[in-house]
């Protein structure tokens, strides 16, 4: 297990460099004008990062026999303040406040993503590479295109950048940023809907002890099912 994690770290660095290099390289044949501009405006090379460098990820997990009654996260969070700010801005663009629930950052999603990318396990190490490089890429795009940090850009500006990577028809040259966005969105949505506010929004009403026999579906749920089955030419089993 330790070996795997060490290997993860090596892959981590190599992959980061490879992808950052790829995002900075030219070669955007076949893109829409917008996509082309996105790519073309990346400077040829950067010596320093825009968001700062996160501290090294944790090395010790919670082990194979953690206390389940009083859970603790044994590793420290590692993102820089600026990475966290960008994370908050992007997660709020993905899940903004609406009439039913608060925004992602209002329920701690950025801090959770920090916990996730700081964890010592292989999946999280892989995500760390993708997420940190992706945030850096997004920041570059924003600065180069709008002259402002992503977190300070207007919602229209943020959307203009994210639209290029948020949908299935992403241009070939933006596959890596699109994969970053997909993974970031997965973590954001999972983190959000598992909070108390997210659970209420989704409408989950379980995890409550029930006395007596399990009551089964409500009358409303059964009526709806009956209607659905009728559309299919089926009927409720008796």
């Amino acid at each position: 297990m330790t070996d795997e994690r060490d290997q993860g770290l090596r892959v981590d660095r190599r992959t980061t460099i490879k992808w950052l290099a790829a995002t900075m390289a030219a070669g955007y044949a076949g893109c829409t004008p917008d996509d082309k501009r996105l790519g073309d405006e990346i400077p040829a090379a950067r010596e320093t990062t825009l968001l700062g460098t996160a501290a090294g990820p944790g090395t010790a997990g919670y082990g194979t026999d953690p206390d389940l009654i009083n859970p603790v996260v044994p590793w420290a969070r590692t993102m820089t303040e600026v990475q966290l700010r960008t994370t908050a801005a992007l997660s709020d663009l993905i899940l903004p406040e609406d009439g039913r629930s608060p925004s992602a950052s209002a329920v701690g999603v950025p801090e959770f993503i920090d916990e996730w990318v700081s964890a010592p396990y292989p999946q999280q190490r892989d995500d760390r590479v993708r997420i940190l490089a992706g945030l850096e890429w997004l920041e570059q795009q924003s600065r180069d295109r709008f002259g402002t940090a992503f977190a300070d850009a207007g919602e229209d500006q943020q959307s203009a950048l994210v639209d290029a990577i948020a949908y299935p028809d992403t241009a070939a040259n933006l596959e890596e940023p699109a994969e970053f966005f997909r993974r970031f969105r997965y973590l954001t949505v999972g983190a959000f809907y598992s909070t108390e506010a997210g659970i209420e929004d989704a409408g989950y009403i379980g995890n409550v002890p029930v006395a007596g026999p399990y009551p089964g579906p409500s009358d409303e749920a059964m009526a709806h099912l009956g209607g659905v089955l009728k559309q299919l030419g089926l009927s409720l089993p008796t």
């Binding site: 973590l187 999972g190 909070t195 026999p213 659905v228």
Partner: protein, 565 residues
Amino acid sequence: MSVGERYDAVIVGSGAGGGMAALVLASKGLRVLMLEAGRHYDPYTETQMLAPNRTAPLRGESTPDKEFGFFDATVDGGWQVPGEPYSSAPGSKFMWWRSRMLGGRTNHWARNSFRMGPYDFKPRTRDGLGVDWPIAYEDIAPWYDRTETLVGVYGRNDGLENHPDSSPGVLHDPPAPRVGELFIQAACRDLNIPCVPARRAVLTRPIDNRSACYYASGCGRGCSIGAAFQTTTSLLPMALATGNLTIVTDAMVYELHLNGKGKADGVAYIDKKTGKQQSANGRAVVLAASAGETARILLNSKSAAFPDGAANSSGQVGRNLMDTVGAAMGAQFPLLENRPHYNEDGAMGLHLYIPFWLYKEQARGELDFPRSYHYELGATGRGEPGMTMGNLADFAGGYGKKLKEDVRRYYGSFLSFTCRGEMIPNTDSYCEIDPETKDTWGIPTLRFHFKWSEHELNMVRHFQNATKEIIDRLGGIVDWGDQSAEDAISEGGQIIHEVGTTRMGDDPKSSVTNQYGQSWDIDNLFVTDGGVFASKAHKNPTLTIMTLAWRSSEYLAEQLGKRAL
């Protein structure tokens, strides 16, 4: 060093087979020592029942430390146990789940408890493949009744072919089906496929000091109210209450001791707390360490009398390794979008399932696979939201307020279908001692060989086609799992139903034990785990392990009483 006392029986393992053996033997006044390789475990104080996943690191997601999630009951276990490696031979892949804790894997199993039927005990008679068991269903039916009564199993008698009914009054009432299950059941009825109440070792009425299910808290977390069966809230406390059972944990058994007459004299183990070698003595030894670990102990017990390992004159120890055939498919159902909300946790597992329904077609030669499978339905649709909610975003695409609306719309519209099928034993699937590797205690480890045959692959193809028919009938869209059978089929061991490595039979030349799990070679040595299975029916093995263990232990008690061993 020795524990000192000479017990009537030394039992290795505290899971389904060991727990049952301990209760039966201790209840008959025999002095029993149980050795467990893992640590002591108290489900009443250690089980996390109701804390939501957000209170766990990484929202409770799977990690190499806790493969089934943070709150899963497994202690010091998983696909890898630190310091206790195993290997797969080149060209093979086998996954071996272990839980190093009192109660073993019974603390977190799915509790699915289907009886094997008449065909399942005589498969060779039916299709000419594999071997028959030395017992018929009729021999074991009363023992199933007794075991189900003790364990507590919900379900219903539907009178289905090769899916035997229990005696009246044995089963607990099954919980009411949920919307996703009723939805699938409606299509099944139209397609002439049975979809009936599942059978699970979960109480819906109290037994002794075990409560009825309160319809919350995933059973994999373990069950501190005793509703979901595990030996640590039932068989072991009951056995301890007799005053005749002593349990020693952190005791890693590595060798069977034989006396000058070729009888089992006890076992040698490592006390993991001190690293010291210890021994325990008994008039009989019962191995219930799991099919893999029991074979390992026997194969590591070489002597002049048994150069290939104890109880292995047949050469069958470690052979005939089988696991359940697994495959799955998921679909999205537009008609289930935005459906009304209600509490659909239920018993946190199957309420309905699909038993195999094509025995007659199979007997007429109309199918291209000889054995059977059942469906487990992932039909809750709306479990506690966790990280997998992210899949809804992948499905919907995009972001923003529209994404929030889409998540509400799609949450509860996905159902999944899981195949659990029978594997036929083959000569390419077995375990042996790896000549090159020892574990941290210096004990030689297991090396696995594993291969599916066309029988299993054809079964998976049938499952996939049947599933697509059901999905199509319900206006669904296949979302995942539609791939070649070779890609869809599980890895060996992945379903955690490994059995067969010390199989029972009628002939000492081709089997390791007789119908009572009694070694042909060493008559005071018994096996009560899944190793004794002569075939691996599609039905989940735990109920049958316990049932056979009860029957074998009664026999052992009689023999000890008569001083016959």
